[in-house]
Amino acid sequence: MSLQIDRALLGQEFERVVIGPVTAEEILEYIAATAEIAAPAAGADLVAPPTFVVRARGNLFKPPRLGEIQLGFDAGKDIEFGVPIRPGDVLTSLATVHDIYEKTGRSGSMSFIVLRTVVTNQREELVAVVDQRMMYR
């Protein structure tokens, strides 16, 4: 059975949050947890690892107007990176419903909602565009 979703939701902003200022401690904690980049030498210019940007999001995992559908699972992400994140940056994260589509697989019909989060910094530079594909059955 296909999921009935109001396509008028497409493109609508459903959450906007401001995060930061980002601290050096947060970046160092992320580096220590991932080893994504080498730990910087003392006094070196500190830049966050690329995927640090996934922290820049709000608390809603779906638009409130989606109503009663059960939360699905995270099927994947696409990230387009802009300028890097540094300590002191204040990030604004704006979430919209970017796409809604269905796929039919061996286990039946699956509905996908692509939630797009655009992250900018205090200079209004683009930090990243993060598309998260959520799957619902």
Partner: protein, 148 residues
Amino acid sequence: MVEQLDFDHVDVGHELCPLRLTLTGEQVARYAHAARLQAGRFMSDDGARREGLPGQIAPGNMSLALFSRLIGQSFPGMRLRHLSATFRVPLQPRQRITVRGVVTEKHVSDQGSFLDCDLVLESEEGERWVTGTARVALPPPCTAASRG
């Protein structure tokens, strides 16, 4: 020790030196905390069971970090421009995993030198749990002029 490559010395089809690791439950919880993803399923087996899962799982975003780590270790000085991942099977701690990459495209434009890579995170049995792609900007190729 991971090999370090530059644009001039890598060809399409080149396989990156894989990362082989086994995540502990503590490492997953530490990542979840650092990434502001503190749902019970990411923090412990008990937390996962309270959410109806058999045991702790890693956030999908942790796979992205592992992909980025592989790329970063292989191409020093690179800048990641695009990264994607499809989460096929939840990544679980205490399982031996391998993160692999292969160069699929190589091109130079006014914007710089770029490599595209296919990425995969697989189980010890070779089951593909996460697949992905990356586009990497590298320092421009050495030229006679730039070599001085």
